[in-house]
């Protein structure tokens, strides 16, 4: 009964703090459009894409130098060999010059508009506050200046011809650069250069689309209310305290949480279930008496201690392990980051094992003894009995044990905060096994990390409560699913 009341109160307060997020975020998104940030944002994306290409070129340069140094050349020789490459890179970088300066100017202008709008809002709020307090004279003294977005934005929109000119130059420059054949001093990297060229071609193809978008952009186009929700649920960026625009998209955090949890379960499920099978079916009573309390003791270790262990011991050792020459055939090795999803996942697995173990063992023990006897009496070995009778018969219990373990893992905070690396980005899933060695940030981690630092009632504060609410419902859903599995697939044992 008390549990239900507490659950109700938690839901109520999370909602009270979090629900305000949506109108505030909507306002935030509307301002993004009204003040022209969206317009300039499209151009910024274009320059940002160029910067990414430029970075990959720099990366290629560093790799080549490394390769040449390894091959026994001196630093000077390596630099000299790259002379042609460097001119190429400079040309590529310079190509975007016009567009970059235009975008930089416009960025200043629109952020200034946004700032004005904010000052205006703050002034309004202050006046209202003073009026409420009954200080009418002071309230009248607060100056407010309404922002005329249309007039403010006119000079920004007027730069469209300048933009088309800048893009034309960029396009021309890039085409010239592309035409130029380039032979890399380190031949094995030639395919990477080909790859780069293709990326540039793809980049050029996006130009007309961007131009079309800019042409059709209207500052007064309405932002529908549901954008507030979708930008939260499907937003791919979580950016706070930005001079430009704050984004509160849960996807990178959700992806991080899921990645860490999946790693944890991949480790914990086989270990936990096998340990349960071993203890309930194979172990001598003395062994079982020894193993059970020790496994269950793991869950008593404070998670901050585990996190400390992860930072000080596990992360470093895993990194050193990946530097072994014998493992260098794995493309992702050696790994760059000590703290990553795998480190956190491995520790979370440790925390999930007791849950999975205890519940699976209960499920196995609840199978009547006569199933086992029937199987043995037909000439089955122990392994056959376990695999063909015991595990299938207790599968619903094992599945629900795994789900509850999942719930335990996804709600865990301290370990992921300390060990997951805390980089807010959707992991790059194209990296194969390297994906699991990327630093990630999680939903629980971000709440713990940022909630202490935000001003009460701000959009950021509300957004964190929304993340909490999301976690809360996720946990409820997982528990519900676990119970449903048990109820629905429980085999009636005659």
């Amino acid at each position: 009964m008390i549990a239900i009341i507490v659950l109700g109160l938690i839901t109520f307060f999370l909602f009270r703090e979090g629900a305000e997020f949506f109108p505030q975020n909507l306002q935030n998104l509307r301002l993004y459009r009204k003040a022209g940030l969206e317009y300039v944002g499209l151009m910024r994306e274009q320059t940002a894409a160029h910067a990414t290409l430029n970075r990959s070129l720099q990366d290629l340069r560093v790799r080549q130098i490394m390769a040449m140094l390894k091959a026994g050349k001196t630093q000077e020789e390596a630099q000299a060999a790259l002379a042609e490459f460097d001119t190429y890179a400079t040309q590529f970088d310079a190509a975007v010059g016009d567009l970059r300066s235009l975008v930089s100017d416009l960025t200043d202008e629109v952020t200034a508009i946004k700032e004005k709008a904010k000052i205006h809002d703050d002034a309004l709020e202050q006046r209202e506050f003073l009026l409420k307090e009954g200080k009418k004279t002071e309230a009248d003294a607060v100056k407010t200046a309404t922002v005329d977005f249309k007039a403010e934005l006119a000079p920004v929109l007027a730069t469209f011809p300048a933009y088309t000119a800048a893009v034309a130059t960029l396009k021309q420059n890039l085409e010239v650069v592309l035409e130029k054949p380039l032979t890399l001093p380190v031949h094995e990297y030639q395919p990477r250069y080909k790859h780069f060229q293709n990326a540039v071609r793809a980049y050029l193809k996006t130009f007309p689309e961007t131009e079309e978008k800019l042409k059709n952009w209207r500052a007064d186009a309405p932002v529908p209310w549901w954008r507030s929700l979708t930008s939260f649920l499907f937003g791919t960026e979580w950016i706070t305290n930005s001079f430009w625009q704050d984004w509160y998209g849960i996807l990178p955090l959700l992806a991080g949480s899921l990645l860490v949890s999946i790693i944890a379960l991949l480790i914990a499920v086989p270990l936990g279930v096998c340990a349960a099978v071993y203890v309930s079916e194979l172990a001598q009573p003395a062994e079982a008496k020894f193993i059970k309390p020790y496994l269950e003791f793991i869950s008593a270790i404070p998670s901050v201690v585990l996190g400390f262990f992860g930072i000080a011991v596990l992360g470093e050792h895993i990194r050193q392990l990946t530097q072994w020459h014998a493992l260098s055939w794995i493309s992702a090795f050696p790994i760059a980051e000590r703290l990553n999803a795998f480190t956190a996942g491995a520790l979370l697995a440790l925390m999930a094992i007791p849950t999975i173990f205890s519940l699976s063992e209960d499920a196995l023990n609840s199978i009547p003894r006569h199933f086992k006897e029937a199987s043995y009496a037909l000439g089955a070995t122990r392994l056959q009995t376990i695999l063909r009778v015991l595990v299938p018969a207790s599968l619903s219990g094992i599945v629900s044990a795994v789900l509850l373990g999942f719930g335990r893992v996804i709600g865990e905070t301290m370990v992921v905060l300390l060990c997951a690396g805390n980089r807010i980005a959707i992991p790059d899933f194209t990296e194969g096994i390297g994906t699991v060695f990327q630093p990630v940030h999680t939903m629980t981690g971000i709440v713990a990390q940022e909630l202490g630092e935000v001003a009460n009632g701000t959009l950021h504060y509300r957004a964190l409560f929304m993340v909490g609410l999301f976690l809360f419902f996720l946990a409820l859903f997982i528990n519900w699913l676990a119970q449903t599995v048990v109820r629905k697939y429980k085999i009636s044992i005659g």
Partner: protein, 274 residues
């Protein structure tokens, strides 16, 4: 002769049986002393069970008849700390506690039906073929044939032929027990041990199982433990009476029920105790 080591079934012994001398008896028990830990459960039991007959074990609860039955397929191996201190058990002339005997192989030759019907939570079909699948026999046509033959032999075919792929747990108690019998005979054992197979069944289901036992004795040696004196009288050829871990008397069933040699047997049968 002493083979008292607690054999467990993960022993990797060769399944090959040493060539058994022809014996008219399915089971020979000599001087068997059996212990659960310190508890002396069977005292010097000597017993011959002929092939292709139904032998009933009767006696009050705790007299050791189920223990003896479970010695025949070494199910007692699963009970921790149980062991044979003296004596031997031979099945068709082979000492089943010998060092070269794999209990897994033994249990394929000596099937068992339990007191409580215990079909697996699988389909009827999968229940019957379980013993074959674990031997690695997976050919569909062969399995189909054996399923039909076993279910017919267990007098269950007509009742379940249209729902072979439904759960075996959904059957009635009597049907479940006959399914367990079908499962036991699917692997074609030589001997079928039945541990109070009818104790949980109603009279109609019981009579069906008894008829079945009568049919099965043509092909199998059957040893049945029962508390039901009428049942022993109705369907067995031989009856053995146990009391406090000792075999008191074994003889033809008519003889035991009409003119037992031992006073204890007579007292038990006439209902003076037990």
């Amino acid at each position: 002769m002493s083979t008292s080591q607690p054999l467990s079934q993960e022993e990797e012994t060769a399944p090959a049986q040493p060539a058994a001398p022809a014996s008219p008896n399915a089971v020979d028990v000599e001087n068997l002393d059996f212990y659960y830990g310190d508890y002396h459960a069977l005292h010097g039991v000597n017993l011959q069970i002929p092939a292709h007959k139904v032998t009933a074990f009767i006696g009050p609860s705790g007299c050791g008849k189920s223990t003896l039955l479970r010695c025949f397929n070494r199910m007692n191996d699963l009970v921790p700390e149980s062991h044979i201190k003296h004596g031997s058990i031979k099945v068709h002339g082979t000492d089943i506690n010998g060092p070269n005997v794999d209990p897994i192989e033994l249990r394929k030759r000596v099937g068992m039906v339990f007191q409580k019907s215990n079909p697996f939570p699988k389909s009827i079909y999968e229940n019957v073929v379980y013993g074959l699948r674990i031997q690695g026999r997976n050919k569909r046509a062969e399995l189909d044939e054996i399923v039909e033959r076993s279910l017919r032999a267990a007098a269950l075919w007509d009742e379940v032929k249209d729902r072979l792929h439904e759960s075996g747990v959904g059957l009635s108690g009597g049907q479940q027990q006959r399914l367990c019998i079908a499962r036991a005979i699917a692997v074609e054992p030589e001997i079928i041990l039945m541990d109070e197979p009818c104790s949980a069944l109603d009279p109609i289901a019981t009579s069906k199982v008894e008829e079945l036992i009568f049919d099965l004795k043509k092909s199998y040696t059957i040893i049945i433990v029962t508390h039901n004196m009428q049942q022993a009288g109705r369907c067995s050829d031989l009856t053995a009476f146990f009391y406090l871990g000792r075999l008191i008397e074994i003889d033809r069933t008519e003889k035991i029920f009409t003119n037992p040699t031992q006073k204890q047997t007579e007292d038990y049968i006439t209902g003076r105790f037990g």
